[in-house]
Amino acid sequence: MYLFKKNSYVETHPRRQPEKQFKQQVPDNMFIQCPYCKRGFYYRNFGTLRVCPDCGYGLRLKATERLNLLTADYTPWDEDLQTTDPLDFPGYPEKLRKAQAATKLNDSIWTGIARIRGLEIALGIMDSNFIMGSLGTVTGEKITRLFERAIEQKLPVVLFTASGGARMQEGMPALMQMAKISQAVARHSEAGLFYMPILTDPTTGGVTASFAMQGDIIAAEPHTLVGFAGRRVIEQTINKALPEDFQSGEQLQKNGFVDKIVPRSELSDFIAQVVSLNQ
C-alpha cells in the first residue's frame, strides 16, 4: 500500500527559495493581485476597464482615467480653485502639491459637464489618489458648484464617490463641506432634478454621511468598501472581528441602502438608462 505511505510534504533543496527567484524574474507590475479576491493575474487580463477577471472588482482609478472610460465629450469646471491652508498645517502645502502632480487635479474631484450616450450630465468623479479622496474645502466647493450649475442648466447629476471622509488637515472648514453640499443636493432635488451617486472603492466617513447617501438612486461598483466608521474602529469598539464583506456595497444593498450593484462595463448604459427614466 505504497499509495498511503506518501509523505505529506515535498522536500525541496534547502538553499532554494522559489518565491524569491520568481520575484526576481518577473518585472514589476506584470502580475497584479486583485485586492478583493487576492488572485493574481497577468496585468493585461484586467483589460482597459481594470476589472478583475475573476471576481469583477474594479481597481481604483484616477478620476481622469475613469472620465476617459466614460466619455470623450466633456468640459471641466472649476479647475482653477486653490485650497487655502486654514489650520496652517505642517507639511500640508507640500502634500497638496504632490497630490496635484500625481492626479492632474486641483483637488480630490473632477467636475464638469459631460455627454454620456448622448445625454448631458453634470458629472463628478472623486479621486482616491488625492489624499485618500478626502473632502477638503475645494472638493466641497467644486461639488457645491456642480449642483448649483446643474440647477441653473436643469441637468441631472451623476457623482462617483471615493473618499476617506473629511480632510483632517483642513479641520472644521472641511467638516462644514458636508453641510454645504447637503444644502446644494437638497436644492437640486427641490428643483425636481435627478441625482445618482455611484459608490466606488472606498466610500467612507463624512462622504457616506452626506452626499453619497442622498441620491434618488444609489448605485455601487462590485465589492466596493462603503461605510461610515472605519473597520478597525468598529472592531475595537465591539471587541469582535467583523466578517470580510461587512462594509461592502453588496451588504449595503441587502440592508436597504443601495439600489443596484453595477459592473464597470455596464456603467455608461446604466447611467443613460436611469437618467432617461428620470427626466
Binding site: P86, A166, M168, G171, M172, Q183, S210, A229
Partner: protein
C-alpha cells in the same frame, strides 16, 4: 505653539470633565413642562438622544439633545453619549413635528461622535446623518444648536446645521478626536495634547473661523449658567421668529454656503 497646545488641551479636558452639566439638568433648567418623546417610529429608541417638547419661557419649543447618562447603566445604554441611527432618525422625526406645529428647535450637543458599532453601521449610520443634514437646511422654523461639551465630527454636525451655532466656553468641536488625529498623523495617540493645539477646536478658534456664532460663558455655578443660556435662547428665538420661513432658510443657506 507649546503654550497653545497646553491651552487647547485644557479645553479638551474641561469639555470632557465629569463635572460637566448633565443633559437632564440642562433641559430641566431651560424648559418647563418638559415631555420626553421616544422612538424613531421604525426601528427603536436610542437613549443617547433625548427629545421632547416644553416651554422656553412662554413659547413651546422642541428640544433634541445628546445624552451621555449619569449612572453606569445609562452610560452603557447610551454608549457614553454616542448616538445610533435610530437616535438620528428620532431627531429627524421630531424636527418634522416641530415644523408642523411651528415650534423652534433647540439642540444641545455633547457627543464624541456617532457610535461606531456593527449594528449602527448595518442600520445605516451614514444615511441617518445624511438625511438630517438635508432636513436641517429645509427646516421651516428657527433652529439654534449649542455644543456644551464634545462636538465630535459628523455625529455632532448632524444636529448642528442650525441658524446659529453656540459653544460653551469649555467645549470642543472637531473633525475627529485629538487622539485619533495624533494616531493618524504621528501613529501615537499619546500626542493628543499637541494635536489639540494644531486642530483649532476651541470655541475662540472656531469663533474666529466663523464656524460658530457665540461663546457661552460657563460659570461653575450651574444655575447661573443655565439662566444665562436660557435668557440668550429666549432672545434669539424671538428674533428669529420675526423672519418668514423662506427668509430663515435663505439665511441658513448663506451661513453654510460661505465655507
Amino acid at each position: 505653539m507649546a503654550q497653545k497646545s497646553k491651552a487647547a488641551a485644557a479645553v479638551v479636558k474641561a469639555a470632557r470633565s465629569a463635572d460637566k452639566i448633565s443633559t437632564r439638568a440642562l433641559i430641566n433648567g431651560l424648559v418647563t413642562d418638559f415631555v420626553e418623546l421616544h422612538g424613531d417610529r421604525s426601528s427603536g429608541d436610542d437613549p443617547a438622544i433625548v427629545g421632547g417638547i416644553g416651554y422656553l419661557g412662554t413659547r413651546p419649543v422642541t428640544i433634541i439633545a445628546t445624552q451621555k447618562g449619569e449612572t453606569v447603566e445609562e452610560k452603557i445604554a447610551t454608549h457614553n453619549g454616542d448616538p445610533e441611527p435610530q437616535g438620528y432618525r428620532k431627531a429627524l422625526r421630531l424636527m418634522a413635528q416641530a415644523a408642523k406645529f411651528k415650534r423652534p428647535v433647540i439642540t444641545l450637543i455633547n457627543t464624541a461622535g456617532a457610535y461606531p458599532g456593527a449594528d449602527a453601521e448595518q442600520h445605516g449610520q451614514g444615511e441617518a446623518i445624511a438625511a438630517l443634514l438635508e432636513a436641517s437646511y429645509q427646516l421651516k422654523v428657527p433652529f439654534i444648536a449649542t455644543i456644551f461639551g464634545e462636538g465630535g465630527s459628523g455625529g455632532a454636525l448632524a444636529l448642528a446645521c442650525a441658524d446659529e451655532v453656540w459653544m460653551f466656553e469649555n467645549s470642543i468641536y472637531s473633525v475627529l478626536s485629538p487622539e485619533g488625529f495624533a494616531s493618524i498623523l504621528w501613529k501615537d495617540s499619546g500626542r493628543a495634547d499637541e494635536a489639540a493645539g494644531l486642530m483649532k477646536l476651541t470655541p475662540s478658534d472656531l469663533l474666529s473661523l466663523k464656524i460658530i456664532d457665540q461663546v457661552i460663558s460657563e460659570p461653575s455655578n450651574q444655575d447661573k449658567l443655565v439662566k444665562n443660556l436660557k435668557k440668550k435662547l429666549i432672545l434669539k428665538v424671538a428674533e428669529l421668529n420675526q423672519l418668514a420661513p423662506e427668509q430663515l432658510i435663505e439665511k441658513r443657506l448663506a451661513r453654510f454656503r460661505k465655507f
